[in-house]
Assembly symmetry: C2
Homo-oligomer: 172 residues x 2
């Protein structure tokens, strides 16, 4: 079942990718049923809070009619950042299944550990590495294409600058 | 100016108090002007994400038309939890002024440190203790009255149970 639900989270990540958003996808599952979905929409919504996890937690709270997401499991393609890890704690999500680590921003152990920190009054049970390579691949593909696009844009900018200089020289 | 803006955050905390919410208040300031306000509405909105900081960041992003809250200072009566500390990082808030520490849930040094952690690509400048006693007082007042109310409810419940038993004895 873990693989099936992570595939569903990857479908959400793909939606983010198509909108030029960093491709992270999420589903929240209760009694083997998906009760909420989300994907990163930070740039589209111009809002730093619009990570997939936050969007999915909002939907799940609405669906369940309360702030405690009891008996819920979140499947997320990439390790949640501190904000999302804190939101998972705040909503009392019990289980978290993560595709791949985020060594730069991870809030579940990679940079800080919020979800299994004994200092807090709630602890999340975490499972790592479900469809890890698929979750990493879509991220690498995204950042590779982003770098290539930026490179092409830079080249185009330089070309235009050269053309402008040439036309100025001709005029003088 | 710090005292003035923290007084404004305390006014927001008072609004939460009046709705039986844990009294935490927030204002976000840019160019010495309050651009967003918020207070804890977790129980009222039945949503674990509805902390004052999150509500204020949402409003500020809408006001500024982008996810980067550049040149912004957040004033908050109580140390943000990990979710809110992460949201402050995510929105690139530059300065954070905190009234009082939260030794149980604090995400700015008390339990974990997210906002000045050298492991992340952004660091927040933090100032502690502005109107500290006022910020602590409203919390203590809230939890004292909550304990008293719960005690009174328990007493009432026991009284009703006794009455029920008495009437059952009379009937038999």
């Amino acid at each position: 079942m873990d693989k099936y639900f992570m595939e569903q989270a990857l479908l959400e990540a793909r939606k983010a990718y198509e909108l030029d958003e960093v491709p992270v996808g999420v589903v929240i599952v209760r009694n083997e049923e998906i009760i909420a979905r989300g994907y990163n929409l930070k740039e589209s919504l111009k809002n730093a809070l619009a990570h997939g996890e936050i969007i999915a937690i909002n939907k799940a709270s609405e669906y369940l009619g309360g702030w405690r997401l009891i008996d819920c499991t979140m499947y997320v393609t990439i390790e949640p950042c501190p904000m999302c890890a804190g939101a998972i704690m705040s909503a009392r999500i019990e289980n978290l299944v993560i595709g791949a680590k985020d060594p730069r921003m991870g809030g579940c152990g990679s940079v800080v550990d919020i979800v299994t920190n004994p200092g807090f009054n709630h602890m999340v049970s975490v499972k790592w590495g479900v469809l890890e390579s698929e979750c990493t691949d879509i991220m690498q593909e995204f950042f590779k294409s982003l770098r290539e696009r930026k490179k092409a844009e830079k080249k185009l900018r330089k070309l235009k600058e050269l053309e402008l200089k040439e036309s100025e020289l001709k005029e003088s």
